[in-house]
Subunit: 424 residues, 2 copies
């Protein structure tokens, strides 16, 4: 079955918004053995919307459409679908009741324009949206079955997995093929290096398709395999994964797609050890990553985001002499920060960061991108100085954000290797 | 002039790679007064490539194409362009010399396949690529002038600014148009409410196009205006913005597109006041947002991410009795957390959060989504209890993440209104 993905909205058309929905949907369709042929985007322009829907209707078997289901005047997708199908819009009472309920739940006043969200092309089947006010709908136009979904990513994702993918698998019936994806998370090697290391292993398996995805600063290696014999496929993938693990070794964070913070959390869990953090240049990002994992309260106790020297001294007990002699961005200060966080919180482990995220504040001796990371463990403490590969990018490339993120990942990587007894 | 953007490559088609080039190009074209009508993507499939190029050739005035100019067998763009134009590929000696020189410079061995990169459709003009080995080219197919560029972002960006945009401005000659966008950031009103409040104001200005963008949980109102008289356009937009400010009032965070954390930072700056934070359920997110703003070290002193009760007591001096009597998630605890953060850091203002981000940990009396936010100011402290509209969404679509973010925004909103002397 040939699919096309159609994303609508002026923010996407004009480039104000990067369309990440389409890549997400494409990946899910491919994983389910459906071949994506084209992506198309256009703005909130009724005529263009109708044109494109008709084109797709004459070309594809399946189309997944996002955006334009909102209540505002520039939400035109339902109207366009009706025009393209040559039917009128009709009210779906059940959806209207749902929309009213959602507004009650969020206790927001419901405006008349929201009733528009309960109008669908005649003959279409409604796709429930438990996450928001805009239901989706499915309708056949030309030779193509269309699935219209809202553009809000988390609403779209929920609707895709709950309603669209199951429906697609039914449409496939008989020709159903299994499609398995394994994701290996790596950190510390460039995309091209990872690509080279992995490519010739994957090439030995003629059925496995390789995908590399840079979810900065991690590189995710994705192995796609399609076929009928699920058990055999899993064996093949397992074997390929092991080969890749042997090849890339310590730079592998997880072989189940878990990101760094989750992998570290699991390691702390298995050791039933607790963690504290002292953050200067990362400004709370490490704590935010760690606490983004549900259940992190089992091992995470405290992070002191000590931006000022005074707070480093008062909260973490850093020695003023250390700050005076070596400065805030120094191995010595980072080490005392980690020791302090561990001491005041009573945690088993602590990591700390002190560095220059930029774009300002760099110097000859300590350029933007410099970070000192401290690590305090039951058996003692250490600290290391690193330089972010993104330090010298101009601010317009988001060097500050990238540096902060790289610093945070590097601190978690030092902790991860400590917990695994691995050298760094 | 109507433009389309066409990005090619299997990584994009399959979703392994998010296509950020297209948004970048769209923005640049719009800034230069060229209206982007459609984005299209497809994989490395010669037939589909030819089809799409022919379609665009019959529809658009200008097309900007990226990808498929590399040396490998699945780089098919030049061949597809030649087929679509009905001409043959010819060698460009100058490009071949350049490619050889590049390989020397990077001292990498040049493979015969790289010579392919010097082959262009007959009659096209070559676009130099100082940043890489793959030159681009421009050729008219149908009624459309195509610009083919490599997909490597920094090569594409350089070629776009050096060769493509200047050529486009020439094509526009007299009909040069300006395109201005103004962004108003709002918080606390639903997208549909904002849409209604704004729509009838914008409708009074026939040339202004309205776009609403939900960058959760902020709603951004975007006003697009195109025309020849830049000065007059700015006046018109300024007038429209003032009207919208009168209408939406206190829910407007900024009229220059600044997000909450930046708006709050500027308010602290103008008051030359300092800030401390005490975070439980937000887990460092508020500090991360605040420190994401360059220069935040001028006003941000400290955040205590006190996840455990012990750390609330030891670091922030919360009274154990308060925790025992009212629990961690209580107005009383939140208030003492804020007072503690302000006291230990010596900051002028402090905000605190204690709540239940979920998905676990909720109760009858304190369901997931409950948050208590404390605010300590020079003249005294207060605390309020709120419920996130996303509290009862299931974890599978990010209720934890959304609750954390909403909690953080609500805390910053309380601070913002305090700094403006506004009621909440």
């Amino acid at each position: 079955m040939k699919a096309e993905i159609f994303s609508t909205g002026d923010e996407i058309r004009s480039g104000a918004l990067i369309d990440s929905n389409t890549a997400y949907i494409a990946e899910k369709l491919e994983e389910n053995g459906i071949e994506v042929m084209r992506h198309i985007s256009c703005g909130d322009d009724l005529q263009v919307l109708v044109e494109i829907i008709r084109e797709i209707g004459g070309r594809a078997d399946i189309a997944v459409v996002t955006g334009g289901l909102g209540p505002t005047t520039d939400d035109l997708t339902s109207e366009a679908a009706a025009k393209a199908a040559g039917v009128k819009l009709v009210l779906d009472q059940e959806s209207l009741t749902h929309i009213r309920a959602m507004f009650k739940k969020f206790n927001r006043p419901m405006s008349p324009s929201n009733e528009k969200q309960a109008m669908f092309p005649e003959g279409s089947s409604v796709l429930k949206n438990p996450a928001g006010t805009a239901p989706g709908f499915s309708i056949k136009i030309g030779k193509c079955t269309f699935f219209f979904m809202p553009g809000v990513p988390f609403e779209m994702k929920k609707m895709l997995s709950d309603h669209v993918l199951p429906a697609l698998l039914q449409l496939q019936e008989g020709i159903r093929k299994y499609s398995i994806v394994r994701t290996i998370t790596t950190f510390g090697l460039g995309e091209s290096i990872v690509g080279e290391k992995v490519a010739d292993i994957v090439n030995e398996f003629k059925d496995i398709k390789l995908g590399l995805r840079a979810t900065f600063p991690e590189i995710h290696v994705k192995l796609y395999l399609r076929g009928e014999d699920e058990k055999k496929m899993n064996e093949t993938l397992g074997y390929a994964v092991n080969r890749i693990v042997d090849r890339i070794g310590p730079n592998i964070i997880s072989i189940n797609g878990n990101p760094m913070e989750k992998a570290v959390g699991e390691l702390l869990g298995t050791k039933s050890a607790t963690l504290a953090i002292a953050e200067s240049c990362t400004g709370g990002l490490i704590a935010d990553l760690i606490t983004g994992v549900s259940g992190s309260s089992d091992y995470f106790l405290f992070s002191g985001v000590t931006y000022s020297n005074e707070s480093k001294i008062k909260i973490l007990g850093v020695n003023p002499e250390t700050l005076k002699q070596h400065g805030a961005v120094s191995i010595e200060t980072a080490r005392e920060m980690a020791e302090g966080a561990r001491r005041v919180s009573g945690a088993d482990y602590a990591v700390s960061t002190s560095g220059i995220a930029g774009p300002d504040g760099g110097s000859e001796e300590k350029p933007v991108g410099t970070v000192c990371i401290g690590l305090a463990a039951p058996h003692g403490s250490t600290a290391k100085k690193w330089t972010s590969p993104y330090g010298n990018l101009s601010a317009s490339y988001g060097s500050r954000e990238r540096n902060k993120r790289w610093f945070a990942m590097m601190a978690l990587e030092m902790l991860r290797r400590e917990l695994l007894g691995m050298a760094l």
